[in-house]
């Protein structure tokens, strides 16, 4: 415990009050650790603003969400009506509601960009693995929030979207049907489902989310921010002060940056909020303005855009795709045995694992594997810190073709996202299958390809010139 401090003689009331608080709560200490004496690299660029923007959007979502619960009724008979009531009768209710629904999309845009920044500059590499893992946890929580929240307006898309996703769980062998019953709480998506999704959306998941956000920031501030050069600024400290030479206090230097970027963001956000709150049918789908009807599936159902890349992968997993996966496993197994650098036991283990995996692939329905492929596409992100073996963290010092690979990855991710919003088609399905294979290849083969090529020399210290 710290020594009891006394304010110097002639101190102002404010100083005295701060001393009083500091003796009882580490206010100054927290401020210094996270803002005033948190040294961030000097060369952070605009990509580094999306973390702060995500925090801003999180606050907006919580605030607007609280006000929505004051008028919303989680009851299958009243839910749709109460949302329309918010939209039409509650003073400024439309603004709060659109803020929340547009905010959800904004949250995902900002977080996808934030994650892509991590990919570009290797921000997940040692010692920042836990920062990345907590972040992936946040991403999972956001997906859960998006899914639970989308049922609440009780429109056609809400209903059928939930129906499809809950039925995904029934594809799990053996326990599936009971599991989906447990989630729905009824034999069909109904009042019980709506009520529990409300509980998850407004309290259970947000609590976990906030905890993870705190852990994400604490872990980040423990190890310090990465930077576009991907070099460790703590390697060069001022011998006297022990402060990184290339560091700069977060407050005021980056707070000012972030406030400016937040203002620009709010300009764009307000423009969407006031002029295109439904985002052309991508943020809020037209069918969701029709009340849920359990007897009639809309002619075209698609999840909200932020799920569609993964949804395309689900649709891509047909029987043919399962056969392709089995063939890839077989070839991969043979290659690993012939070329792999491990002993006899390792090779036997690879052979057994490959045979078991192929057997399982052919045993269970393609439907189940679709769920596995979709879930795996998110889970694989958790392993990124250990998949990337590149000698240079940042894309700046990696071979040029790595950059092209990233470009192809992004383009295919967009194409997958687009196809997920479209009705199923044979041609589209082939493209989704290629996209899915590329997505998995990108991550699972990363230990191999990330080491290949000629790397540029990584500088000792960051490249930065003050303007």
């Amino acid at each position: 415990m710290a020594e009891f401090q006394t304010a110097p003689a002639g101190a102002s009331v404010g100083q005295k009050l701060l001393t009083w608080v500091d003796n009882r709560f580490p206010l100054t200490k927290l401020y210094n650790e996270h803002l005033g004496e948190y040294y961030a690299p000097k060369n952070l660029n605009i990509w580094y603003a999306f973390g702060a923007l995500a925090l801003l959007v999180l606050v907006m979502q919580i605030l607007s969400g609280i006000f929505l619960t004051m008028h919303y009724k989680p009851d299958a008979a009243k839910a749709f009506e109460s949302v329309e009531y918010i939209m039409r009768d509650v003073p400024w209710g439309w603004l709060v509601r659109y803020m929340h629904s547009t905010g959800a999309s904004a949250f995902f845009i900002v977080v996808y960009l934030h994650m892509f920044r991590g990919l570009l500059y290797g921000s997940y590499r040692k010692p920042r693995e836990l920062v990345w893992l907590f972040g992936c946890g946040i991403f999972l929580c956001m997906m859960a929030e998006g899914f639970f929240g989308y049922l609440l307006p009780w429109g056609q898309m809400s209903y059928w979207g939930a129906q499809v996703i809950v039925n995904l769980f029934s594809a799990v062998p053996f326990i599936g049907p009971d599991l989906s019953l447990l989630i729905r709480g009824d034999f069909v998506v109904g009042d019980a489902t709506l009520n529990r999704f409300f509980a998850f959306h407004v309290i259970a998941v947000p609590l976990v989310l906030l905890g993870l956000v705190a852990a994400h920031i604490i872990a980040l501030h423990e190890v310090g921010s990465n930077n576009p050069d991907g070099v460790e600024i703590k390697a060069h400290k001022d011998p006297k002060t022990g402060i990184a030479l290339d560091g700069i206090p977060f407050q005021p230097y980056y707070t000012v940056h972030d406030i400016f970027i937040a203002s620009v963001f709010l300009f764009i956000f307000s423009a969407v909020l006031f002029f295109a709150p439904e985002g052309g049918g991508y943020f809020l789908e037209a069918n969701n303005f029709i009340e849920a009807n359990p007897l009639k599936t809309p002619l075209h159902i698609a999840p909200v855009w932020y799920f569609t890349p993964f949804y395309s992968m689900l649709r891509a997993t047909t029987d043919v795709m399962v056969n392709i996966l089995a063939a890839i496993l077989a070839v991969g197994g043979v290659l690993a045995i012939l070329r792999g650098g491990f002993g006899a036991f390792g090779k036997i283990a690879v052979a057994v694992a490959a045979i078991v995996a192929i057997f399982l692939l052919k045993t269970f329905d393609a439907k189940f594997w679709g769920v596995v492929v979709m879930g795996g596409a998110v889970i694989v992100l958790f392993f990124l810190p250990w998949l990337d073996r590149s000698p240079a963290r940042s894309i700046r010092y990696r071979p040029a073709w790595h950059r092209y690979l990233y470009i192809v990855f992004v383009i295919l991710f967009f194409i997958l996202g687009y196809l997920g919003t479209e009705p199923p088609s044979t041609g589209g399905n082939y493209v989704s299958q290629v996209g899915t294979l590329f997505y998995y290849g990108f991550f699972l083969l990363m230990p191999w390809w990330s080491r290949l090529g000629t790397f540029k020399p990584v500088p000792e210290r960051i490249i930065f010139s003050a303007h």
Partner: protein
């Protein structure tokens, strides 16, 4: 701390009481998890539905709600019935042999999956992920369907197709044929869905 001796006896008791506590917490979880299951009221709501099918004209479909799900009654035309056997090679399970206890009651395990060939009674819920397929009774080429389409149902969610007997086509996301609910004819024009014998 390091120079202190570890009291093994105390440590054993700490571990033991920790384990007992964990088991207790496990038991406490049971009522909470169980509360997720359907309530008694929801279990009770599943009464059979009686439907008058006299008014359906050939080629038309009637949808009724049974246990919260849509049940379709389609009066098939002779042409539609005649096309069914020709499709067998294209179907995943033409003879309804998969999961017969869940999907197809004994009296519907035939080519047209019905008691009376004219009337198809199926639960209109795709066996893939539970969407309700839409009617595509008109044969011929149309969007999302093959050019030699013989008429049937198309699931809008993931593109599974079913023929006029609710049998699923090969290499589609849906693994199984549409479910035939237990049903019985009370008279020529009245059926009871949800029960197999006359009450």
């Amino acid at each position: 701390m390091s120079d202190q001796k570890i009291d093994d006896g105390k440590r054993t008791w700490i571990i033991a009481s920790g384990c007992v506590g964990a088991i207790g917490a496990g038991f406490v979880a049971v009522p909470f998890v169980s509360s997720f299951l359907p309530s008694e009221r929801e279990r009770a709501a599943g009464a059979p539905v009686e439907v008058d099918i006299g008014g359906i004209r050939p080629g038309e479909k009637l949808t009724v709600e049974w246990r919260g799900k849509p049940v379709w009654i389609v009066r098939r035309t002779p042409e539609q019935l005649a096309s069914l056997p020709k499709l067998d090679p294209l179907l995943a399970d033409p003879q309804s042999k998969r999961k017969p206890d869940e999907l197809t009651p004994p009296y519907a395990r035939n080519e047209d999956r019905s008691i009376k060939p004219e009337y198809l009674v199926v639960v209109g819920v795709c066996t893939h992920l539970g969407c309700s397929p839409s009617d595509k009774f008109a044969p011929g080429a149309q969007p999302s369907l093959p050019d030699d389409w013989a008429g049937g149902f198309l699931c809008p969610c993931h593109g599974s197709t079913f023929d006029m007997a609710g049998r699923v086509y090969k290499d589609k996301p849906a693994p199984d044929n549409l479910e035939v609910p237990p049903h019985v004819y009370l008279s020529d024009s009245r059926i009871l869905i949800g029960e197999e014998k006359k009450a």
